[in-house]
Each structure stands twice: as structure tokens, then as C-alpha cells.
């Protein structure tokens, strides 16, 4: 369907519903989506998650009456049982995952949701990413334009050189002939290419280019931008920080007061996961790892006594039982069903692999996360300076962590990157009494001769601010 068609459909829906009752509100749709749909459907509307991507679903259902889509949302299983062709198609695609029924959603609310879905899908709603894209694209265009001219000039120069060489060798040949040298020959291209001048020029150019590349690569040696390793627990920042909006400082409680932001201890996880025992995506498979690390028995809701001294089999028995029981209950199986046992064996294998390593042979004990952000030992970085005093958002350096199911290193963490930020960032100068000793700057700010105090103005570029 063409864009015109989609637009037409939306317009039609919009107008027809708007004419009947009140117009469906895109903001209402947004909140409804977040409350009801976002745990299974991807927020970007483009990629499938537990459920299919919602973008374009109105079009996919366009062949059927509107009420079918509404019914599908309210109770999909009923529609499947009724043998609705689109419903069956979807079931075949996503079974056995069952879509949660939402019998309480009104037509209006459902329409609002789809309005929001479409808005996001087509990029007409929300902060336009166009600006950012444009920002990075514009210099790229410039860059490519520039290199085009450089290539052009280079080619012209090479052409000119060949032309001149041709001219010169012709002249030399003629001169030799005139001088009566009958054996004289015109210099061939091969002779040119193997001449000392050309060879030494090529070697020179290669050395220059090689040196340039070596230096550049050596500088970036050890940097790990975009490093995104698999972690022992499939912990999703998207779920925790994004959907559930848990404050970063709640788990990373060092960030506001210490040098390190701190990977949360297992007991921090337990603050919530003593109650939340099943994950939205992996069920018991991941959260049980927390329990096995600290020694919490989710079946009895008690911490296990003397956990560190239990044998691996004893530990396995406790958690396998929990996994099997939960699996059986969720799938309406009888207690001890074979598939539940199989499931618990599988999950336990994963748990064991995640909690043990070459250096850690027992299951109880800390979870060994893979460290993503590594600064060299000669760099001193203090989170609290940036978070508490500089009042920087975590995202400034860590990227949109709330959108990352698996965390990756967003920033290059290179010195140039640090320095650049120190050049551009304003110090929260007037809020903090500490800066009172910088009288000159305060005077200048008052007099209006200075607009702002950058980090670099108070020594943010000096070696011993970070290296000591």
C-alpha cells in the first residue's frame, strides 16, 4: 500500500470516528500503549518482541471490518477459535505465545492506541530524530563533497603529470635524435614506472600512509566502543530503567557518592525480586540466577540456612523444583510433568554455567559480570563529581541505556572525548558555594563580560585533574 493509501486510511479512520464521538487522542493512546502493550510489543513499532511489531497493523487488518481488529485486541483467542483468517495467520506465526486479553478496552481507546502506534511508526509523533540524523548527515555530505573534489584534483594532477611526462620524454627523444643518436628510443610506461624517481616516490607515499594508519590505529588500540558482551544474566536495562523507570542511582548507588558507580550487589536485586519471581521474557530462567547466587528459596520465600555449605546437588534440587513447579503451573500441567522436568534441567544448566567460571567453582557467591567500561589504570575518574556536582545525566556518557536490552559501550572513552566535553560543558557555577573562591569569574559573570564558565576554565584540561 502506498503512503498515500496509509495516510488516506488514517485520515478516514480519524474523520469517521471523530465525526461519531470525540476524536481518539494520541496522548491517551500513548499512555494506554505503555500500560497495556509495551511489555510485549516493541516500542519502536518496527521490530517484533514477544508479540509482533504493531506498526502497520491497521493496514494488515484493513481487509476486515474494524470491529475484527478491536475484538482481536479484546480477546484474541476467541477470534482464533472462531477461525478468523487473519487471526489464524497470526496464531500460526506466534503460537504458543498467547496474547493477553484486554476486554476492558473501549473502541475509542483501541483506536487511540493505533493512532499512537502509527504516529511512532511513521515518525510523525514524538521528538523527531530527523534533527539528530540531519546533524550527523550534514557534515557527512560535506565530507563526501570534499573528498570528491580531492579525488578530482588528484586525478587531474596525475593526468597532468602523465601528460608532462609524455611531453618531456618526447622532447628528450627528439633531442637525442637530433644529436644523432640513432639507437635512441622513446621511454616506455614500464620504464617510467620502474624509474628511481617513481619508485622512491611510491615508497615515500607508502611509508607516509603506513605511518599515518599505524599511528591512528595505535591511538585507538585498547578502545572498546560498541563493546556489547553477553552477560551471565540476561539483565535488560530496557525493562528496568526503560519500562519500569527505576532510577539509575537506585541500583548503581555509588554513582552519586563515589568514584565507582558500582555494579549492584545481589542483595540489591533481592529488594524487588523477592516479590517479582518471574521475568516477562525469560520466566524463571534468569531471575533464578539471582536466587542461586544469594541462596534464596523462592518456593518458601526464605533465605536458605548455611547455603554456602550445601552441595551442588542439594542446591540444584531446590531450584529445579521451583522451575519445574512454576513451569507446570504456567502451562497447566500436572506437578512433575516430564516437560516441566526437562525445562528445569535446561534452565538449571544455564544457571550453573552463568554462576560458575574458571575462577569460581561454586554456585553460591557473586555474579561475575563482564566489565564493559574500562579505563586505563592511570586515569582517575570519579562518578560523583559528574553525577552529583556536574549534574550530568547518565545518558550523556552511557547513551540511551534505557533502550538497551544488552548494554554496550556508547562512548569511545578516549581522552579526546573527555577533553571535548570538558571544553563544552558549563560548570554549575552559581549553584555551588564551593566555586565562591573563583571571584574573578563571578565578577565577570556579573559584569556580563563572561557568558559561562566551562570546565576547562577551572582547570578541566589539566593533566593532574585525571592523571595522578
Amino acid at each position: 500500500m502506498s503512503y498515500k493509501g496509509i495516510f488516506g486510511t488514517i485520515l478516514f479512520v480519524f474523520i469517521s470516528i471523530g465525526a461519531l464521538i470525540s476524536a481518539p487522542d494520541i496522548e491517551v493512546g500513548k499512555s494506554s500503549f505503555k500500560n497495556n502493550c509495551a511489555s510485549c510489543h516493541n516500542k519502536n513499532m518496527k521490530d517484533p518482541l514477544t508479540g509482533p511489531a504493531l506498526g502497520g497493523s491497521v493496514e494488515r487488518w484493513a481487509a476486515f471490518p474494524k470491529a475484527d481488529l478491536h475484538n482481536w485486541v479484546r480477546n484474541s483467542q476467541a477470534l482464533i477459535k472462531a477461525g478468523h483468517p487473519r487471526a489464524t495467520e497470526l496464531w500460526n506465526q506466534f503460537k504458543p505465545t498467547v496474547m493477553t486479553a484486554f476486554p476492558n478496552l473501549s473502541d475509542d481507546e483501541i483506536e487511540s492506541i493505533f493512532l499512537y502506534v502509527d504516529g511512532v511508526y511513521k515518525g510523525t509523533y514524538g521528538p523527531k530524530p530527523v534533527a539528530a540524523v540531519g546533524g550527523t548527515q550534514a557534515p557527512q555530505d560535506q565530507q563526501s563533497g570534499l573528498s570528491f573534489w580531492i579525488y578530482l584534483i588528484f586525478i587531474l594532477l596525475v593526468g597532468l603529470a602523465l601528460f608532462l611526462w609524455n611531453l618531456m620524454s618526447d622532447l628528450a627523444y627528439q633531442m637525442k635524435l637530433k644529436a644523432g643518436d640513432t639507437t635512441a628510443k622513446k621511454q616506455s610506461v614500464w620504464q617510467l614506472m620502474t624509474s628511481k624517481t617513481v619508485i622512491s616516490f611510491v615508497i615515500f607515499a607508502l611509508v607516509l600512509f603506513g605511518g599515518y594508519t599505524t599511528v591512528n590505529n595505535a591511538i585507538s588500540l585498547g578502545r572498546q566502543q560498541n563493546y556489547q558482551p553477553d552477560q551471565p544474566i540476561k539483565f535488560s536495562h530496557e525493562t528496568h530503567a526503560g519500562l519500569n523507570k527505576i532510577d539509575c542511582n537506585y541500583c548503581h548507588d555509588g554513582a552519586r557518592r563515589s568514584k565507582q558507580s558500582l555494579i549492584p550487589a545481589t542483595n540489591t536485586c533481592m529488594n524487588c525480586h523477592a516479590a517479582i519471581k518471574k521475568g516477562s521474557q525469560y520466566g524463571t530462567a534468569e531471575i533464578t540466577k539471582i536466587y542461586a547466587s544469594i541462596g534464596y528459596n523462592p518456593s518458601t520465600d526464605k533465605y536458605i540456612d548455611n547455603y554456602n555449605n550445601l552441595t551442588e546437588d542439594e542446591i540444584a534440587a531446590i531450584y529445579k523444583k521451583w522451575i519445574a513447579t512454576t513451569f507446570a503451573k504456567d502451562n497447566n500441567l500436572r506437578e512433575g510433568a516430564e516437560s516441566a522436568i526437562r525445562e528445569s534441567d535446561n534452565q538449571w544448566e544455564g544457571i550453573k554455567n552463568s554462576l560458575t567460571s574458571d575462577t569460581k567453582s561454586t554456585i553460591p557467591g557473586p555474579i561475575e559480570w563482564k566489565r564493559i567500561h574500562n579505563l586505563p589504570d592511570h586515569v582517575y575518574f570519579n562518578h560523583s563529581q559528574h553525577v552529583t556536582i556536574g549534574k550530568l545525566a547518565c545518558q550523556t556518557c552511557h547513551g540511551k541505556i534505557e533502550n538497551m536490552p544488552v548494554v554496550k559501550q556508547y562512548a569511545p572513552l578516549s581522552m579526546g572525548w573527555c577533553i571535548n566535553c570538558h571544553r563544552q560543558t558549563d560548570v554549575k557555577f552559581t549553584d555551588n558555594k564551593y566555586y565562591d573562591s573563583y571571584k574573578t569569574y563571578h565578577d565577570e559573570l556579573k559584569a556580563g563580560t563572561r557568558q559561562s564558565v566551562k570546565v576547562s576554565d577551572i582547570g578541566g584540561l589539566e593533566c593532574q585533574k585525571c592523571h595522578y
Binding site: R257, D377, Y468
Partner: protein
């Protein structure tokens, strides 16, 4: 003779074939061999092939490393204790105790490991000060030579046993023993002593014997005789206007040096407007740390000390109309001085203080008698909080030896004591020990005594233990653990209690000894405290503060000493032409600190020698140009044969100013035969040369013969005296010409008939300035004029308009009060601990490669035969116009907007131009990978000599490293950073609290360590700060101000109060 022969020396003329052969080869073969031999030890042997191999390996490894970055792990806690935030240091109040050495401390821990010791300002004894031993104690916690588990020792085979088995075996042994002896150093813990008392009750035949490696037995016995208690009264050095010390090194080693130093400094600091200071006279034969701080030194031979005290006593007594005592002969010069001194003492009744460090009961009683005559009892000698910092008894330990010889001792327990080394009777003791059936050692390391035991029950290190201390009466302090015991060790108190099967020890408890301690405190201290709250509150507060005072008031006891009886105990002058005294050094003590490389590496304040003990020999001056050193010693470190009472040993000699002619001195505590990797075999043991006289150990000997100098300098003689000197020039008297005293190098050359005196303000380089108290006004004027002249000269600039003003934000600066500095070296060790300064070892020091960021330069001035001393702590001066900065080709060292001279290690390429251009010589180059910071183990460095690995490569030792300070790799320069990590931390805490920075936010490591508060650091822009007030002192000067480097470290002029009358 052939007329055309050209010659340089007589060798050419005689055509000596060896000489010609040697000259024909390019390199002198002999020296090359010796160099190669020299290079073998401690370094990787390498040749061209090795180089190529390493090159290939290096490139290969680098390539591999660049392909795949190793996965690093981030391992969080399972259950995070809420008091620990990784990245933030926790401080715990505790106490440092080792035998009689005591200091109330704060222990800095990071991520659960102690990394630095600070003084506890709440203590009324040490008042926030520390000393070198306290600072270094954190390193001995991570000593890999510690005993790691309870064990049985059989023919030097160690077999691990469980505590249970050990206890059971020992209990049955003790039960079968009639006579059990517990041998310890001074123990000041009421709770541990209670545990021992329980042990003694359980086994009635047992007895606890204490002794001190350097004995104060006579002092204690004199206390018992004169005042009815075996204790040491409070010496109020702050209240005394005249201090006379008979051989008591109270600033360095005697009883409670931290306490005394802080009191002493109070009376020595000068206010320019109202100059007043105490007058200190030291009576000794060798230049001790205390003697070097004295205004006057009266030189008497060690055997004349008795005569000296008796003479002074008689002079004072006759003036005051008291009874005199029989006269003993004394040298005339000293007599004249004492006559003058007696006049002064009598004029300053009850404002003087006389102390005596000799282990002679007659002298000690006379000394108290003298104080009694002068009315000092109750004023400068107080009895309210008497000290228990020495408890040892020579009589007891001698009795023990005869008991052991008579085989009546069945079991012996050594508790923090090493009598097979640190007693003059050590070899007899070791022999007699074979007669004892059950020998148990609670010592932390295998030492000379533990090695002869058959059971090892290792005690915790003090930083791992619970405990308490009563260093002075009523002044209690607690010891709390700051780390889980690293090894399978057990508190000694716990051991005694469990051997006693004490019902008061709850063995089932998680920390049985902690419960016991708490119980004791509840019953004794809490009951006596008069605290109104509950016990838990009381306990928590005590633990938080680290100290608790039980108020008591004691009336000054009447003097009951038998002065006339004491005269019979006095020593007689030996009449020998040569006498030797045995002294304790600030670092090594009685040898119990020998395995601590920080203390070995700290140069002795006076001789400036590290890693060894050297014979201090006198030198004499002919009045114009020539110095004649004792027995032909030309260079320091020349080996000399020393025969004491028939025993011969070869030691290096050090020419020592202020050493009395006819006397020599050497330190005891060296020459440990079993002390661990760092301490074994360093120096020579002179304990056997000490004698037992009248039941007291005597630390001098008159039966000494010394050979002429052999002329060969000891191999790797490590004396830092002439390392990193500041280019002092002097003026020769006869010609009036200037010469470079540095180039002439040796101290005695620096004395070459200098027109006006010696170094300092008397030369044309303003390194040192000093004045007599009476001339202070004139010298302030002179200083003002000179500084004005310097500033005028310096105002000319090639770059007008490029002035750094530092008028906004901070401008860091420092002030060093040379009148407070006693040269004890605490700051240098504190600096090593704080800044991960590497240990380099003896050989490297010999090559001028010591790495200390802060050194203490020692200068002599005044009378050549009996000079005064100035100690000058010298660190990076953070010049605003730094000469090091503009010679760096890579800008690795540059200036910050806060006035710091910054050093970026990772930028440094090691040209060393900066070190070359530094006028203060404070930059240090990493010649080796001393701290194993490099990725590949090439040219790593081994200080211990025995092990195959470098000292700092041991993971246990590395736990002491400060995580906030970069570990430097090979090939880079380093230097004092003004503890920039502390500056940044202080700024951060001010920012977090949204307030301006104050003086307490930033204190450097040297500043906090100093017992006399000689160093002040701060922001010179803060007009309200302490530093700003101090730098306005008219006594201040800047070292080498004339060279226009604009240093920010201010020194005060050294003022002495020398009494010229005593010199006459």
C-alpha cells in the same frame, strides 16, 4: 733516555708492561669484569640474542594484545555491607602497639584493606602525630614472611596443625610442667595481661617476664625506689625552659618519642614578634637525633655519664645547700660546661627538666634527685598519667636465664619477643633454651627465637586484632581490626585463655577474644568511667574515638630516692683511650623492624645511611683546611676492623661530626640472622658486645680496638648524604674565592676554611638561613633586605604580560617550620606509603637511584668540633617559574591553574632533562620497573635479593598500594605531587557539601604524619587559612629565591638558643 719520549706519568717512563697492556686495550679489563659481576645480581642477564628474542616476543605480544582485548570482570558483593562504599575510604580508630611502642591511630581502609596510617588527633598522648615505625607498620601487615598457620616445628621442618590439636597438645604439656615462663616485650594491654593472669592461675608454676630490646630497666627501678611505683613519670618538655638530657634520645627512640616530640616542639617554635624558646643541652658522645636538635652538646664518654650526672648534681646541690656526693673524675671541658649549666638550672628552679637514658640505676636515681632539688617534681615531671610504655626488667630476664641453665623451666612461651637476638645474653639464652622441653612462640614471623621453638601459635598483626592499651595511667585506647586475619592466626590473648581453659572465653562465639575484651571493659573501664548511658553506647563511643580517659588525680609523691646509696651504683670512667656506644636507630629499633623495607630504606637522620649499620667515627679539624678522620678513614663506608672484647668484625665507617674524639658508636638491631627476605643479614649484630653490669645491660663498651682503615669502601655502601645536593657554594678563607662545595662533594671539603662558617645563609646560595635567638631581630632585617634584592632582580622578565597571577580559585602552597622539624623521617615514610613510592634496595641507593619524593637534608653549622644541625625537608617546590617544565620535550610536566607542577607519567619519555634542570634535585627516575607496573616482565627488580621475583610483584605486598595513585612504570620521572589525590578528594567533598574549601579538607601525607606539626599545606588564596597566616611570618625564606623559580614552599629560618657560656 730517549729525548723524544712523551709521558704523562712515571708509569710511562718506567714502561711497566702491565700498564702498557692495560692502556692498549680500549676498556680497563679489570673494571669491566667487576662491572659485569656487579650487574649480575638482581637483574636479567641479557645479550643481543636475548634482546632480539624479547623484541620479537614484544611485538608478537603487542599484536596479539591489540587483536583481542581480554575480558575483564566486574564482581560485585553478594551482600554489600552498608558501611562500605567501594571507592570511598573508611577510617577506623585503633592503636598501634609493638612492645613499648605506642601510637593512637586512624587506619585508612579501601575496599576492606588497610593502606595508610594516620595519627588520631583525639589522643592526649600522641595528639595526631606518628613516627616512621607507625607509618611503616601497614607494610608489615602484608609481609609474606609471616607465619601462615599454627604449626609444629621440628628440625626447622614446619608442619601445619589445627588450633584444636595444638591447644590439646599444649594443654597436656603445660599441665605436666612445673615451671612455665612467658617471655614478652613490654605489654600494655590490660585485657591481654588479664588473660595471662588467668593462664598463670591455671598453671600455678608460671610466671610472666617482660624485657625490652633496648632496656629501660634502671629507669623503672629508679621510679620504684624514688616514687614507690615501677613506672615512668610524665616528662613535660613543653613546660621546661631548660632541658638537659643525659644520653636520652627522647625525640627518636626513648620511651615515647611521638609524645615527647610534640611537647618539645611546642617549646621550640618561634614567634617573630616575641621570640622565646627552650634551651636544650644534650650530654652524649655520639650525635643522636635528639642531640642534633639540641642547642648545646656536652661531650662526655659513655663511661663518663655517671661522673657527669654526679658532677652536675654536686654543683646544683652545693648551690642550693644540699648534701653533695663523692666526686668522680670527669673531663675538664665538660666540668666547665656543667658549672655554667648548674648556674642556669638553679636560676630557673622548677622550670627545668633533666632526663637520663642510661641503663644505670645510680644515674637514674641521681637524675630524679636532681629534678627533686630543682623543684621539678610536680611541674615538669608530673605523676597524674604516668607512663607504662616500658616495663621490662633486666633482673627477671637474667634470672630466667639461670633458671633455664639449671633446667628448672619446663615450658616457655615467647610473646612478641626475640630474646635469642635482642639481648646481650642472646647466645647463652639460645643455648639454655635447649634445656626447656616445651617451647612455644606467638611471634608473627620466624625469627631467631621462633626457629628454636617446637610450637608456633602465630599472633595477629595489630591491624587484624582486637585489643586495648593502657600506655599511660588512665589513658586507655582500643585496638580494632581493620581487616579479616589474612592468615590462620589467633590473638595471643585468645591463645592464653584457651590454654588456660578459661570459663570467661566463649569459644563458640564468632570472635571469642572480642567478647572477652568487651566483657573486661564492661566490668572494669565502664564501671570506673562514671558513664551514665548504657554499656553499648559507652563501648561504641570508645571504639569510635579510639581513646578513653579515666580521670584520676594523683598527688605528687615525695622523693624517696637514696641519693647517697646511688653513688655506689655509679659507673667509673674507664680510662680507656677508645670507647664504643651502642645506639638504637629511629627505624630499626631493637631489630624488630628489620624486615620492613620502608624502614630499611629510610636513611638514618644523622648518618644518612640506609640498609645497614655503620661505625660513627670522629673527625677533627686543623682549623684551616684539613680534616683528620679517625684511623685514617678517608671515605665514608671504608671497611674497618672492630675488635670488642676479643670479638672481631668488619664494618663500614662513617665520619661523623659531633662524635666525641676517643669514642665511636654503632647501632644495634642490625645483623639479624633470621628475619625474613628483607631483614636477614642487613648490617652487623652488636648485641653480643653489650655487657651486663650490676644486673643491668650496659649499652657501651670500653674494651674496643679499631684497626686502621682498610681503604676499601663497603660494596654498595648506601649513604644518601651527597645525593641530590643543591649546589652549595662556599668561600675559601685564605684566597677569598668561591668554590662549589658540591663538587668537592665530601662534607669535610665543604668545611674547607669557609670564611664565615658553613653552609646556609653564610654562602651565597640561600639554601639555609639560621640565627641565634638573640640575633633574631638583626637577621630578620637582613633577610628582608636580601629578599627585597632578590625580588627586585627577579622582577625583570623577558615575557612581560605573561604573568601567572593565580588570583582566582586555589593556589596551593606549603610552609615548613624548620624550628619544629626534628628530622625524624616520619614524613618520608608517610610519603612512600601514600604515593606508592617504590623500594629500591641498597645497591640502587648506592647508585643514587633512591626514589623518595621527600627527603630530609641534614646540614651542619657552627662549631666544627661540636656543630649544630638543621634538618630541611626537601620536596618538589612547585615553582611558578619551573625550570623543569620548559625543558620537557613532550610537555609531560607542566603547570596547573592552581599552581601545581604537574607530572603526567604516561606522557613522559624519560629524557630526564627535567631532573637535570631542577635546582632542588627532587625529581626521581624509574631506572627499573620497581613496582612491576609494566605489561611484560623485562628488567624487573628484586630488592630482597633472595627471591626470584621483585618485591612489589607479590600480590600480598601489592595490597598496600594506594588505589588512587598510579603505579609508575620503568623509564618515567616522578616527584612530589603535593598529594594531588588528596587535593582532588578535598575539593570534591567541599563541592558535595556546597561550601568553600577549608584547611581540614586537604592535608598532605607528610603534614598529617608529622608529630611536631612542622609542615602546613593549604591554599595561599584563602586569606583566613592557617597557611596564609604562616607564610606572613617574617622569619620565612624561600630556598634559592635568587634563581627566580618562584617556589611556593616557605621555610622558616632555623633559630637556635645555643648558650655560648657552655662552649667556653
Amino acid at each position: 733516555m730517549n729525548e723524544s719520549t712523551i709521558w704523562i706519568g712515571e708509569e710511562d717512563l718506567v714502561r711497566n708492561p702491565d700498564f702498557i697492556a692495560a692502556n692498549n686495550s680500549e676498556l680497563n679489563p679489570v673494571s669491566l669484569e667487576s662491572i659485569l659481576e656487579d650487574e649480575k645480581s638482581g637483574m636479567v642477564e641479557s645479550n643481543r640474542r636475548d634482546f632480539l628474542k624479547l623484541l620479537g616476543f614484544g611485538i608478537g605480544a603487542a599484536t596479539l594484545a591489540s587483536c583481542e582485548i581480554p575480558v575483564k570482570k566486574a564482581i560485585p558483593y553478594v551482600i554489600k555491607p552498608d558501611t562500605i562504599v567501594p571507592g570511598i575510604a573508611n577510617y577506623y580508630a585503633s592503636s598501634y602497639v609493638n612492645g613499648g611502642d605506642y601510637c593512637s591511630i586512624l587506619v585508612k581502609t579501601r575496599e576492606g584493606r588497610p593502606i595508610k596510617i594516620e595519627g588520631n588527633a583525639l589522643s592526649s598522648i600522641t595528639k595526631g602525630g606518628t613516627n616512621a615505625r607507625v607509618q611503616a607498620s601497614v607494610l608489615s601487615l602484608y609481609d609474606y614472611n609471616r607465619i601462615k598457620f599454627p604449626s609444629k616445628l621440628n628440625q626447622s621442618q614446619i608442619a601445619e596443625v589445627s588450633w584444636n590439636d595444638l591447644d590439646n597438645e599444649l594443654k597436656s604439656s603445660f599441665a605436666a610442667s612445673k615451671n612455665i615462663r612467658i617471655v614478652s616485650s613490654t605489654q600494655m594491654s590490660p585485657t591481654a595481661l588479664q588473660a595471662v593472669a588467668e593462664f598463670c592461675t591455671k598453671y600455678p608454676g608460671s610466671k610472666h617476664i617482660m624485657y625490652d630490646g633496648v632496656s629501660s630497666s634502671a629507669l623503672l627501678d629508679a621510679g620504684l625506689q624514688c616514687f614507690g611505683e615501677r613506672m615512668i613519670p610524665e616528662f613535660r618538655f613543653d613546660l621546661a625552659e631548660t632541658i638537659v638530657s643525659f644520653n636520652a634520645d627522647f625525640l627518636g627512640t626513648w620511651i615515647s618519642p611521638i609524645e615527647y616530640a610534640s611537647l618539645y616542639a611546642k617549646g621550640r617554635k618561634i614567634k617573630a614578634d616575641a621570640p622565646k624558646m627552650s634551651q636544650h643541652t644534650q650530654v652524649e658522645s655520639h650525635m643522636s637525633l635528639t642531640g642534633s636538635n639540641a642547642d648545646n652538646r656536652i661531650l662526655v664518654k659513655p663511661s663518663e655519664q655517671s661522673a657527669a650526672i654526679a658532677f652536675l648534681y654536686n654543683e646544683v646541690a652545693s648551690k642550693l645547700g644540699a648534701a653533695t656526693i663523692p666526686v668522680i673524675e670527669l673531663n675538664e671541658k665538660a666540668k666547665a660546661a656543667f658549672k655554667k649549666l648548674a648556674e642556669r638550672l638553679v636560676n630557673q628552679k622548677s622550670k627545668s627538666l633533666i632526663v637520663c637514658g642510661n641503663n644505670n640505676i645510680g644515674e637514674q636515681v641521681l637524675c630524679y634527685g636532681l629534678n627533686n632539688l630543682l623543684g621539678n617534681l610536680g611541674t615538669t615531671i608530673a605523676f597524674n598519667n604516668v607512663s607504662y610504655q616500658r616495663k621490662g626488667s633486666d633482673a627477671d630476664v637474667n634470672q630466667l636465664l639461670s633458671d633455664m641453665k639449671a633446667s628448672i623451666v619446663d615450658a616457655i612461651i615467647f610473646w612478641n619477643s626475640n630474646p635469642c637476638f635482642d639481648l646481650p645474653i642472646a647466645s647463652d639464652f639460645a643455648q639454655a633454651l635447649a634445656n626447656v622441653k616445651t617451647r612455644v612462640s606467638l611471634n608473627a614471623t620466624i625469627d631467631e627465637t621462633s626457629a628454636l621453638c617446637n610450637y608456633l601459635a602465630p599472633d595477629h598483626h595489630v591491624l587484624e586484632s582486637w585489643g586495648d592499651v593502657e600506655a599511660k595511667k588512665g589513658l586507655l585506647s582500643l585496638i580494632q581490626p581493620t581487616i579479616n586475619p589474612i592468615f590462620n592466626t589467633r590473638a595471643s590473648g585468645h591463645s592464653f585463655l584457651s590454654w588456660a581453659s578459661s570459663p570467661n572465653l566463649n569459644s563458640a562465639a564468632e570472635q571469642p577474644y572480642y567478647e572477652y575484651l568487651k566483657n573486661q571493659w564492661e566490668r572494669k573501664v565502664y564501671a570506673a568511667s562514671g558513664a551514665t548511658g548504657g554499656f553499648q553506647d559507652f563501648w561504641d563511643e570508645c571504639l569510635h574515638n579510639g581513646v578513653f580517659t579515666i580521670v584520676n588525680s594523683t598527688t605528687t609523691p615525695l622523693f624517696k630516692g637514696d641519693v647517697s646509696g646511688a653513688t655506689s651504683k655509679l659507673g667509673k670512667p674507664s680510662g680507656s683511650a677508645l670507647e664504643i656506644s651502642f645506639i638504637e636507630t629511629v627505624g630499626i629499633g631493637s631489630g624488630n623492624y628489620a624486615n620492613n623495607p620502608w624502614l630499611q630504606e629510610m636513611p638514618d637522620p644523622v648518618t644518612r645511611c640506609a640498609w645497614g649499620n655503620y661505625l660513627m667515627v670522629p673527625i677533627s679539624f686543623d682549623g684551616d683546611r684539613k680534616f683528620i678522620a679517625f684511623n685514617n678513614v678517608k671515605e665514608n663506608g671504608e671497611l674497618i676492623d672492630l675488635t670488642i672484647a676479643g670479638t672481631k668484625s668488619s664494618v663500614g665507617a662513617v665520619k661523623q661530626f659531633g662524635q666525641m674524639p676517643g669514642t665511636v658508636a654503632i647501632a644495634i638491631g642490625y645483623g639479624r640472622s633470621i628475619a625474613g627476605d628483607c631483614g636477614t643479614g642487613v648490617g652487623t649484630n652488636f648485641y653480643p658486645a653489650c655487657k651486663l653490669v650490676d644486673g643491668y645491660f650496659q649499652y657501651f663498651n670500653s674494651e674496643v680496638e679499631i684497626s686502621q682503615s682498610s681503604g676499601t669502601v663497603e660494596k654498595h655502601f648506601a649513604c644518601v648524604q651527597h645525593h641530590h645536593t643543591l649546589g652549595v657554594t662556599a668561600i675559601e678563607k685564605s684566597s677569598g674565592q668561591k668554590f662549589n662545595a658540591d663538587e668537592a662533594a665530601l662534607v669535610d671539603d665543604a668545611f674547607k676554611g669557609i670564611a664565615k662558617g658553613f653552609q646556609g645563609s653564610l654562602t651565597d646560595r640561600s639554601v639555609l638561613r639560621h640565627s641565634h635567638l638573640n640575633e633574631i631581630k638583626e637577621n630578620i632585617e637582613k633577610l628582608k633586605e636580601e629578599r627585597a634584592e632578590f625580588q627586585k632582580l627577579n622582577s625583570h622578565t623577558l615575557y612581560p604580560g605573561h604573568e601567572y597571577t593565580y588570583n582566582t580559585g586555589h593556589h596551593w602552597g606549603m610552609h615548613v617550620d624548620l624550628n619544629a622539624c626534628i628530622g625524624c623521617g616520619t614524613c618520608t615514610v608517610a610519603c612512600m606509603a601514600e604515593n606508592n613510592v617504590p623500594v629500591v634496595g641498597k645497591k640502587e641507593i648506592a647508585r643514587h637511584h633512591e626514589m623518595s619524593w621527600l627527603r630530609i637534608d641534614r646540614y651542619y653549622y657552627g662549631d666544627v668540633d661540636n656543630p649544630n644541625v638543621v634538618y630541611q625537608p626537601m620536596m618538589c617546590q612547585h615553582c611558578n617559574n619551573a625550570p623543569c617544565e620548559n625543558v620537557c620535550p613532550v610537555n609531560a610536566t607542566n603547570h596547573s591553574s592552581e599552581g601545581l607542577n604537574q607530572m603526567a607519567y604516561n606522557r613522559c619519555v624519560g629524557t630526564r632533562y627535567c631532573a637535570n634542570n631542577c635546582p632542588y634535585k627532587v625529581r626521581r627516575f624509574n631506572w627499573y620497573d620497581f613496582t612491576t607496573a609494566d605489561l611484560f616482565p623485562v628488567n624487573q627488580f628484586n630488592v630482597a635479593g633472595e627471591k626470584n621475583q621483585p618485591f612489589y610483584s607479590d600480590n600480598l605486598v601489592r595490597m598496600v598500594l594506594n588505589p588512587d595513585v598510579t603505579v609508575r612504570s620503568r623509564g618515567v620521572i616522578e616527584k612530589c605531587s603535593f598529594c594531588v589525590q588528596r587535593i582532588q578528594e578535598g575539593k570534591l567533598s567541599a563541592k558535595k557539601e556546597s561550601r568553600t574549601l577549608n584547611d581540614n579538607d586537604v592535608k598532605t601525607a607528610c603534614q598529617t604524619a608529622c608529630p611536631t606539626e612542622a609542615i602546613t599545606f593549604g591554599d595561599m588564596n584563602n586569606k583566613e587559612g592557617t597557611l596564609f597566616k604562616k607564610i606572613e611570618n617574617p622569619l620565612n625564606y624561600i630556598v634559592l629565591e635568587e634563581v627566580n623559580v618562584k617556589s611556593v614552599v616557605h621555610y622558616t629560618m632555623k633559630v637556635n638558643n645555643r648558650d655560648e657560656n657552655l662552649d667556653a
